[in-house]
């Protein structure tokens, strides 16, 4: 018998398999491992951001600033590497620290001033996006050899398939996050916080530290996603990753994480990101459909999943009564 808490994740995985199968039947050339790997290549940054977002949502919060932090990261990286001539070995650690610090600051404000995460991270979103334009209002193209080699290097797999370095980074992040979520105190405290903050406090758990760390982690993930995004786009621009926070939230929810917090799996988010990728791929194979169909399908899926979660929790209530 399948444990009830795994139902959403299984549904997500089954949906992914179904969509991939449907695509394979309909379009020649769709059914190939490389198409699947391309999903990862094209969505590595989304995956990294969504992992950080999963922690935030599991803790009962939300982080709207992630897309803007990505843009700011690309902007700072491009400006320092291209215009100031700093070495990437300095720039990349620096932007990661800046992203984490940005998240830490938002977390601290959320906790100590008891302000809704929605508002604080909304402010963070505007702030980070605005700061991009302080650096430049134009695209800064990067032609530094390190960045171009990161963008172009293909890691060969047996059978002629390949992935990019970004995919490796994203998969390492996913694996590390699974460990973090299930085998460390920080991870378990995050779940406890999302289950009931007042209980967590009365159980003597470090609520303040956990909450702030969750946003710090999300900030770090955003900055890392920003670095990966820089590899992908080879430029810094203030309009990069507009609305990406919503894609990340959608991926997390489609992956079975409850928006009310306390319940969710990193693996679910992984499938959630891939589902978004499959939809995009199907639409590009179709050729004539507008890319906005991606949004329509994701919108419908979100609705479907939220209703599914509602039904599952309602059934749980019924069974207990």
């Amino acid at each position: 018998m399948l444990k009830r808490q795994y139902i959403p994740i299984v549904v997500t995985a089954a949906l992914l398999a179904f969509m991939f199968a449907a695509g394979s039947f309909r379009y020649t050339g769709f059914f190939s491992l490389q198409v699947l790997l391309n999903l990862l290549i094209d969505n590595a940054f989304l995956l990294i951001v969504a992992v950080g977002m999963t922690f935030v949502i599991v803790s009962g919060g939300i982080d709207l600033s992630v897309g803007s932090v990505i843009a700011l990261t690309t902007m700072i990286s491009a400006s320092l590497v291209q215009q100031q001539g700093w070495p990437p070995a300095v720039v990349i650690p620096l932007v990661l620290v800046l992203g984490a610090a940005f998240g830490w600051l938002m977390g601290a404000i959320i906790h100590y001033f008891k302000i809704q995460p929605f508002i604080v991270t909304l402010a963070g979103m505007f702030l980070a996006r605005g700061l991009c334009y302080v650096i430049s209002i134009n695209t800064i193209t990067i032609d530094h050899p390190f960045y171009t080699s990161m963008a172009q290097t293909k890691i060969k797999l047996p059978g002629g398939f390949f992935i990019s370095i970004s995919v490796v980074i994203a998969l390492v992040v996913v694996a590390a996050a699974i460990y973090l979520a299930h085998y460390t105190r920080f991870g378990r405290n995050t779940y406890a916080l999302g289950g009931s903050e007042s209980s967590a406090l009365l159980m003597g758990l470090p609520v303040a530290r956990t909450k702030i760390l969750v946003y710090t982690f999300s900030g770090l993930c955003s900055a890392l996603a920003g670095v990966v995004f820089t590899f992908y786009m080879l430029s810094g621009y203030g309009l990069h990753a507009v609305g990406l926070e919503l894609d990340a939230i959608a991926a997390v929810v489609i992956g079975g994480t409850l928006l009310t917090g306390g319940v969710g799996y990193i693996l679910g988010t992984f499938f959630g990101v891939l589902i978004q990728g499959v939809i995009q791929t199907i639409i590009s194979f179709e050729g004539t459909l507008s890319s906005w169909w991606t949004k329509i399908v994701i919108g419908l899926l979100l609705l479907l999943f939220i209703v599914l979660q509602r039904l599952l929790s309602a059934r749980r209530q019924m069974q207990k009564a």
């Binding site: 085998y183 460390t184 105190r185 406890a192 289950g195 007042s198 209980s199 009365l202 159980m203 003597g204």
Partner: protein, 506 residues
């Protein structure tokens, strides 16, 4: 004394104030190892404040807390837990989304190099539950898969794992059924035998006498006394909680005139037969006739409000029948109750009654508007007339219908709410603690108003914890104890002594 042992916990001369209120003044409390000690008191006695002091939620203004003869400063919930004081609350303070084992161990999970060892944790949880509490359960399921009673036992297991010396059980039995209570008591007795000191807070008198060795009574933030349970008769316990000595209890002048002989011939307005709701109130019979005032007496938590809520359709009964105006099962929601001519003034004026940001007039017309439906607005002119009429009739001060209600005193706010329901011209008016927290003058006015309304043919269900008040206005009194209607006292046998004996169960 039966024992001359050292108390494990000694609180002396504790003072704690909040802006405008003195919650505790000079309270002492001690707890011995291997005893179950009940902390008793009515609303506002300071029980919850004392417990919050002990659990580190509040800091004290003055006084000392000693644990095993060591003076302690308990300044956070963590500090209390570290010191060995653990609390299990009525609403279980655990995380429903985590597994049972995690709920017991979180914060102290067995780890190696920072990695949580799930297998060891699950095994330890199973062993702890089995050996200390004698329950066998799947500790890998989320806590939410289990009933509240089991969740409480898990909370106790967590407390034991922190190596608690003092276990505080804050109203643990409120949402348990009889078997579950029995199971909890078995666990409590076992832990007591192992030498744990247990502080037990409850509103159920029967339960106090069933498990407690000692009782401490608080009243109005002050220490009344500490007694051995077997040496303190129930009636004395109640009189000490309420603050009335038995000798004082002679008949009060009644304002209500003797009921007419034709009373019983009057039409029934509401009739409950074996009506009950699990966890709220045991099945009871109660009738209210036209123009009759029925008082509901009982200690806090005895089920008064729960009963009133059934009559108003705010809660659904799960057994028995309720006839309103001769129609069976006529009420399934407050809307239907209003349509049937029932009005309900809730106990918590602040949260369930007034709407802060609206004016007196707007607050008053709410219920009447609701009965008409929101698309048939009451003409403004009519609203003004009604507001003026009831402001005058209820003597609301200041007599300005456009004043925001939050600027009125408690008594006047209460009158506005009364006015709100009187506007609907109800057949049955349910008043839940209508005079709590308002001054003496306003109290007397509200009591007079109740008598006047009943004289005009309105039926009233009057809920109050003040004995005098219930006696003064009621034609008949139903007494509740531990969620059971234990007695109905007719007009001719009413006295405070009668009432108190019924409340205490002697």
């Amino acid at each position: 004394m039966e024992r001359e042992r050292e108390p494990i916990l000694q609180m002396s001369n504790i003072h704690k104030g909040f802006p405008g209120v003195k919650a505790l003044s000079g309270v002492s409390f001690r707890l011995f190892p291997g005893e179950i000690h009940a902390l008793m008191g009515e609303n506002g006695a300071g029980k919850s404040t004392l417990i919050k002091v002990l659990t580190g939620v509040y800091s004290i203004d003055q006084g000392t807390v000693e644990l095993a003869r060591q003076r302690m400063a308990i300044d956070s919930p963590q500090a209390a837990q570290m010191a060995g004081i653990s609390t299990v609350y009525q609403e279980v303070n655990l995380c429903p989304n985590l597994t049972v084992a995690e709920n017991i161990f979180i914060g102290r999970e067995p780890r190696r190099f920072g990695r949580i060892l799930w297998k060891e944790m699950n095994a330890a949880a199973e062993k702890l539950l089995l050996t200390r509490l004698q329950i066998r359960m799947d500790v890998k399921l989320p806590l939410s898969a289990y009933s509240v009673a089991i969740q409480q036992l898990v909370a106790i297991a967590r407390a034991l794992n922190i190596s608690a010396k003092v276990l505080i059980l804050d109203e643990p039995t409120s949402s348990l059924d009889r078997n579950e209570v029995k199971q909890l008591f078995e666990v409590m007795n076992k832990l007591k035998a192992e030498g744990l000191a247990i502080l037990f807070v409850t509103h159920f008198l029967d339960q106090v006498y069933e498990v407690s060795d000692r009782i401490t009574i608080l009243r109005g933030g002050e220490f009344v006394g500490e007694y051995l349970a077997k040496e303190l008769p129930r009636i004395e316990l109640v009189s000490k909680m309420i603050g009335k000595e038995l000798q004082q209890l002679d008949a009060l002048p009644r304002e209500k005139e003797a009921a007419s002989a034709a009373e019983s011939a009057k039409a029934l307005v509401i009739e409950a037969k074996a009506l009950g709701r699990k966890g709220a109130i045991e099945p009871f019979d109660l009738t209210i006739r036209k123009g009759e005032v029925v008082g509901l007496a009982g200690l806090l938590g005895s089920g008064r409000t729960e009963l009133a809520r059934l009559f108003f359709g705010a809660d659904r009964p799960d057994q028995g029948a309720l006839r309103v105006n001769g129609v069976k099962d006529g009420i399934t929601s407050p809307r239907e109750a209003i349509d049937q001519g029932i009005a309900f003034c809730p106990e918590n004026r602040k949260t369930e009654g007034i709407i802060d940001e609206l004016t007196v007039r707007e607050n008053m017309i709410l219920a009447l508007q609701a009965t008409r439906g929101w698309f048939r607005a009451i003409p403004r002119k009519r609203q003004d007339e009604l507001a003026d009429e009831y402001i005058k009739a209820l003597n609301i001060n200041p007599p300005n219908p456009e004043q925001l209600i939050k600027n009125l005193s408690g008594g006047n706010q209460q009158k506005v709410i009364l006015g709100r329901w009187l506007l609907t011209q109800p057949k049955l008016l349910i008043l839940d603690e209508p005079t709590r927290g308002i001054d003496v003058g306003a109290k007397a006015e509200i009591q007079k108003l109740v008598l006047k309304l009943s004289g005009e043919g309105m039926s009233v269900l009057f809920v109050s914890s003040e004995l005098e008040e219930v006696l003064r206005v009621s034609d008949r009194i139903a007494v509740l104890r531990d969620h059971v209607v234990v007695k109905e006292i007719a007009e001719d046998e009413m006295s405070q002594q009668q009432l108190m004996q019924a409340m205490a169960g002697e």
